[in-house]
Subunit: 567 residues, 2 copies
Amino acid sequence: MKYSQLFGKATKDKNKDTKFASHYYLTKGGFIRESTAGRYYFLPLGWRVHEKIKRVIKEEMDRAGAQEMITPILHPLELWKETNRTNSAGFELTTLEDRRGAQFALGGTAEEMFVDLVRRFQLSYRDLPFNVYQFSTKFRDELRSRGGLLRVREFTMKDAYSFHADENDFKREYDLMAKTYSKIFERLGLKTLMVAADNGYIGGEYCHEFQTECELGEGRFFVCADKSYAAHEDVAEFKLNEINPNEEIKKFEIIDQPEWVQTMADNVKHYDKDESHFLKNVVYKTDRSELIIVTIRGDLDVNPIKLQHLLNKQPNLTVHQLEDASEEDLNKIGTKTGYVHSWGHENVIYVADDSLRTVRNFIGGQKEKTTDSFNVNYGRDFKHEIEGDVAMAQDGFLAKDGQGKLIEKHGIEVGNIFQLGYHYTKLMSGATFTDQDGQEKPYYMGCYGIGIGRTMAAIIEKHHDEKGIIWPDVVAPFHAHLVSLDGAEKQGQNVYQQLSEVGVEVLWDDRDESAGAKFADADLIGIPVRLVVSNRTKDKVEYKHRTKTETELLEVEEVIKRLKTNG
Amino acid sequence: MKYSQLFGKATKDKNKDTKFASHYYLTKGGFIRESTAGRYYFLPLGWRVHEKIKRVIKEEMDRAGAQEMITPILHPLELWKETNRTNSAGFELTTLEDRRGAQFALGGTAEEMFVDLVRRFQLSYRDLPFNVYQFSTKFRDELRSRGGLLRVREFTMKDAYSFHADENDFKREYDLMAKTYSKIFERLGLKTLMVAADNGYIGGEYCHEFQTECELGEGRFFVCADKSYAAHEDVAEFKLNEINPNEEIKKFEIIDQPEWVQTMADNVKHYDKDESHFLKNVVYKTDRSELIIVTIRGDLDVNPIKLQHLLNKQPNLTVHQLEDASEEDLNKIGTKTGYVHSWGHENVIYVADDSLRTVRNFIGGQKEKTTDSFNVNYGRDFKHEIEGDVAMAQDGFLAKDGQGKLIEKHGIEVGNIFQLGYHYTKLMSGATFTDQDGQEKPYYMGCYGIGIGRTMAAIIEKHHDEKGIIWPDVVAPFHAHLVSLDGAEKQGQNVYQQLSEVGVEVLWDDRDESAGAKFADADLIGIPVRLVVSNRTKDKVEYKHRTKTETELLEVEEVIKRLKTNG
């Protein structure tokens, strides 16, 4: 392709209003352009990369026996109602009505669509298992989009759905998909870590994210040194340390306290004890306006995802969303910030974190204007019906199963795999197959996603320098970037033709620009090999790899040989 | 691929509730399934065909120098407002709002999106021309979907948009795209005819459809024997014949008429003259409730598309849609069916078809209960301000430029190409480039579409027999359909492996089914070559082409040789 004819060239725009290299270089290099916030055009150069990423994913999915197909983008809304997801995913779901009044959701994920399709067939155990996938446009009505392709409102996702006769067969597939994903990301130049995560509104019992480590990434997770444990902050567990196991249990008292003692810092100062000795109360409000008071050890933070899961395990609670309670909410139960009691408020739901059992003789719990509780012992002085682990892990905490300390990491989530089990097939009637024993049984399911644009951005976050992108060979938009200088147009044409004829993908910068401008654009665009012809190179070609500084003067045949080996 | 593992097998369903072979065989064969009316799943088998069609289109578009990219599916509604298309395309346009209140249209075609993108770049004549295209999901809120993939509400379209410095350069591209389209359809096994057509809500001055002849097709068009003229019924012109050029012009009279003379047939009977001697009045209503009375020669029908164009050429009229006037509409102007006057009604817009000049001494025009007008001569007795060709062509009419008689045909429109000219770039501010003379000038544009699913259906309409589909090699889901019979599973495995290893795409029916059932499914699915191994074929393979009855017993090597030549 001649660069002069390419639609979407590099711009000279120096305005770097993003901290993300991927966003800056993709825009400046002519790969993408924003339409409205979070919705992107992929220009010809960017689309070539996008399609090469898709090809790698397709090759590995097919190798694993998955079958590509496609579902409509408009999902009948009644399917999402069947699984109650209009509630749980409602905030990210866009709906619409056609002119005949039929209601649809813009697909953000397609579990219902696949289950609805599969239940129309009369399948038996002989037809199982199968794993079907698609590359299709997905929609997420995010409140904020950020970081260019890292978090968008519309994107191409590879989503796969597997159907099994039982859990054992599913587990085989889950392992296979985990291996397939590692292989895909490895081929794309991304080292990933498989991290236990929260299943959010997808449902099911467990899932894993594929995180590629990146300081700027949105994902926060914890690993132990040998990586035998890796979990997203949403679900990360840790071993609670005992604070004062040998201390004698003392008598509960109400003690005087100066009025200036309000915050945790005030307490630490006043009593000269570290935060772990104090009771902390954190208040949340559910989407049905229930107030939740979590009592937790003072040095720990509440993990709202763990909290939500714990609440949803209770017989009479269904929580789709949790938010911080407001001052107004506190007033309604007769209190205010700094004065929430660990017991005794009415019309609230109390939750006790497991950490309350690791401290003897807590301070705090029932704070009045000039008094507080002293020597409070959980189980003796107060106890909540709802108990569990709702604490957020922290860097340096001990791993639960003795693998040493947890290390905090940040990363970009490029893929995820979900156990769905019977979640959908029990909610959607008729989603059954005939088993060997003649019985109709629900399918056991899993699902598996990769966002193409985010993967593309992640590749750049990991493969760039101060001049621009450094594409891994497999996804580079072209194999070689040919630059013809100072009137060497004819030599350029020759080399371009020779390379093209043998199937080397060449971007030929044939513009009437300075050597400096052309080299800068070549570095920005990041094609692995730069070739230069000029009056000085005669019938040879100057060959330089994007990552190296030295150049070599080579015969065209040698250039072809090297490029055919790489490509 | 083993057929036992394929998701979406052929069904035994014999319920043939469609007249379209494509719809019946695609559904029965396991290629597609309907989600809601007009929205289809492509199952793995169908998706393979879909992607092969795309590949052919991509190859030819790339060869023509076009560049693939992608636009978002959600188009900012303000762009469609900028070009007034929320009015003109409003009835097929689906709109929605996100949770921040931003309004979008679900893209049905993407002119505004491409112009909006291009105008963000500061391009000069040096960057021109370019032709950018995408394969993306398009939405049409059709009132009725019909014929399976032939008319749907959601589909993949290849849409291309070209940008030029001037009309001459555009015309070169238009010719190139016409040739490219013919080549694409020829490769896909479709003979097409390039037919002048109406540009509808796309805008621009002219366009052509690529029609593949088909008795059941929705498209109706006219060609002359040497095909030098071909036009869709919407725009087809013809040469008006003079009815009675030598008749003496007689005196206008009001004559008595029996009350039973109401319809055209009554008139023909009563006066013993053929329909052409009578005046006919046809009433329409516009989307702004204006009533239009068209006066036309009695043997002709009104062409509402021609009428709409004629009306839109008038200085004070803008008509987005025309419908037949109702009895109630007629009552409002004091008349009823059969009694509409060719002149004299108030609050209506009269239009005269050119055919009124081909008859002397018309009968009709101002019909009362027991009288009618006689010897009415257009121009002498009445004349309308709006005059033009608004008549529908008919089979056997003469072509306008002396190419003989018009022949009526039916077909499926598989592609279309549009001149857009300055239509969009003048309506959308800033859609300009810097020309050689330093001036900012609007782009001259064209656009070019192909619907993938409809093309797939058209291929089947042209390539099937009573047993099923007969895929052309280039789009067949697999190269060979291997059937293993009566316990020849091991031979099947061997042949399957040998073929797969050399890159032949094989669907192996390894199920435990009868020979009859397997052969019937093979014929239905329509893969070009059927291979059979059984205990009787020993180490050879029975080879049969889908279109032939004779079989041959061949060595595997010979089978491979033949398949590699086809594929």
